[in-house]
């Protein structure tokens, strides 16, 4: 179709300075070899050494507010299905969604409420704590009493931080969750997560390596050009440049900057007059957990928890991404948007602008990943050429490389 192509001059502000607010690891400055996104063997190592050994975010506590509430999640990286449940004791636990008798799934709904997990196949029944409680015709299992401890539901490590539910493939992880989340969580603590309501949910499956998909969202260099349609005016003068960067072991955080002469669209302008918060609106209220490096003209923080969980915070809104690798070149992307409660109808309309504008902006990000993957898989390019403001991209490949070097 024909539409006027915006090719206005792309001005990258020469005065811009990117602050390093923490130590920066020695990561080298050469191009990134293609193997980390094209090699099946490399991905197998990532599955074993990273995804099997690291805390992974799967949901939020608001999804399971009462005892007995549960949700299931597919873990495509392992071809496994898990159930996350709030027990009678209010504790959140995670189990493999598998009956220990002969493997039937214990629950087949994606979310519901229950008093026990009772298998459809033979009626075996487990408590919300995973303990095997009832076996019909138990006398037909002469060794049942002896074998019972081994027949409880298989558990995963499970813990929460600020309402985010994380699981771990090791039921007894070496490193506690809060310690793993480290300095990045320190910066974010205090953000009013519990005052935000869920307003949107999107998924997409992309034929590209999970790290390449992540790259699309952790550098702001592309924003002025790729998003010149979604955010009119972005192409004029260094929109959304990174202003400060922080590294915390495997995690990283990039603050981005909103140019102060960015005009909301005509419809947004009318709506924004009625709300303190909005996507391209500098927040009028102060809150904790944001802008840790105190940047001027701050817009939002891109917070990336290793390996695959983003929790980006704005003034009065936040959104999350998860990237689940299915194979070396196949990834499931998941996005959720949250915003402070709307007290009026016009605040709800501003929420609508937030989700639609943000949704269509990230939609533009979808448009590059598969082209890039193809360029490397086909052998046309053998490496990625990385600029200084794309340092988060470099950090990701470096962290993964360092882990894979070890046993």
């Amino acid at each position: 179709m024909n539409r006027p192509d915006k090719t206005a001059s792309y001005a990258f502000s020469p005065q811009h300075d990117m602050k390093f607010a923490t130590d920066v690891p020695e990561m080298g400055n050469g191009p990134i070899p293609h193997e980390s996104i094209t090699s099946e063997a490399y991905f197998e190592q990532e599955r074993e050494k990273i995804f099997k050994r690291t805390w992974l975010q799967v949901g939020r506590v608001e999804e399971i507010p009462e005892s007995g509430d549960y949700f299931t999640r597919e873990l495509p990286t392992f071809d496994q299905n898990i159930v996350v449940v709030r027990g009678k004791d209010e504790v959140v636990r995670a189990f493999h969604n598998v009956c220990t008798h002969r493997g039937m799934a214990l629950v087949t709904k994606s979310c519901a409420s229950t008093r026990t997990f009772t298998c459809e196949f033979h009626g075996w029944s487990f408590g919300l704590d995973g303990q095997l409680q009832h076996v019909p015709a138990k006398e037909s299992f002469p060794n049942l009493e002896k074998d019972k401890p081994g027949l409880n539901m298989r558990s995963l490590g499970c813990d929460t931080w600020n309402g985010f539910i994380f699981i771990h493939m090791n039921p007894e992880p070496e490193q506690p969750l809060r310690e793993f989340l480290g300095g990045l969580a320190d910066d974010m603590d205090g953000f009013p997560f519990d005052k935000c309501q869920h307003i949107a949910h999107y998924t997409s499956r992309v034929k590209a390596n999970w790290k390449l998909c992540i790259d699309a969202f952790q550098e702001a260099y592309h924003a002025a050009y790729l998003h010149r349609h979604a955010i009119p005016g972005a192409e004029n003068g260094g929109f959304a440049l990174p202003t400060s960067v922080r590294f915390y072991e495997g995690h990283r955080s990039v603050s981005v900057w909103l140019i102060d002469n960015l005009q909301p669209t005509p419809a947004e302008t009318i709506a924004y007059a009625h709300s303190a918060h909005g996507f391209t609106k500098v927040s009028e209220t102060k809150m904790e957990g944001i802008n840790p490096s105190d940047d001027e003209g701050w817009w939002f923080d891109v917070n990336v928890f290793f390996p695959n969980f983003f929790c980006d915070l704005g003034g009065g809104w936040y959104f999350t991404y998860n990237f689940w690798p299915v194979s070396h070149n196949d990834t499931i992307w998941n996005m959720n948007i949250y915003q402070m409660e709307a007290a009026t109808a016009s605040e709800k309309v501003v929420q609508e602008f937030t989700r639609i504008a943000l949704r269509d902006t990230v939609y533009e990000d979808m448009s590059t990943m598969e082209f890039s993957q193809k360029a490397f898989e086909s052998g046309v390019l053998s490496e990625q050429y990385i600029g200084d403001t794309e340092i988060a991209v470099r950090h990701q490949y470096w962290v993964v490389d360092e882990i894979l070097k070890k046993p």
Partner: protein
């Protein structure tokens, strides 16, 4: 035919048949399957009344809107969709390189996985 919208906005009743829908998924589908001209026509019809609509709705408790006001709010959500072609992309879709069928919009409900 009974009015879907508050009396003050009855001039916009003809747009309800197409643009009034219950979910984000449905509204997005209407936008992407309409022409640019249809999106812009609806946008142009609402814009001059938009401020007035917000002021009207704010007179009611947001968690307990009467039916006509609730319909007006949903029609506004349809307007937000139509504003994207009109103000941003100049096309019903975001980009030609990734079709809408591949970008899944879930129902307006708490996160339900991927």
């Amino acid at each position: 035919m009974s009015n879907l919208l508050p009396q003050a906005f009855s001039a916009l009743e003809p747009y309800c048949d197409k643009w009034l829908a219950e979910t984000e998924k449905a509204r997005n589908q209407i936008r992407t399957s309409s022409t640019l001209e249809e999106n812009v026509e609806f946008y142009d019809a609402v814009m001059p009344r938009f401020e007035e609509m917000l002021k009207h709705l704010d007179e009611f408790p947001v968690s307990d809107l009467p039916t006509e006001e609730d319909n007006l709010l949903k029609l506004i959500y349809g307007f937000v969709e139509a504003s994207c072609p009109a103000e941003r992309f100049h096309s019903p879709v975001v980009t030609d390189t990734f079709p809408p069928e591949r970008f899944t919009i879930h129902e307006d409900s708490p996160a339900s996985g991927w």
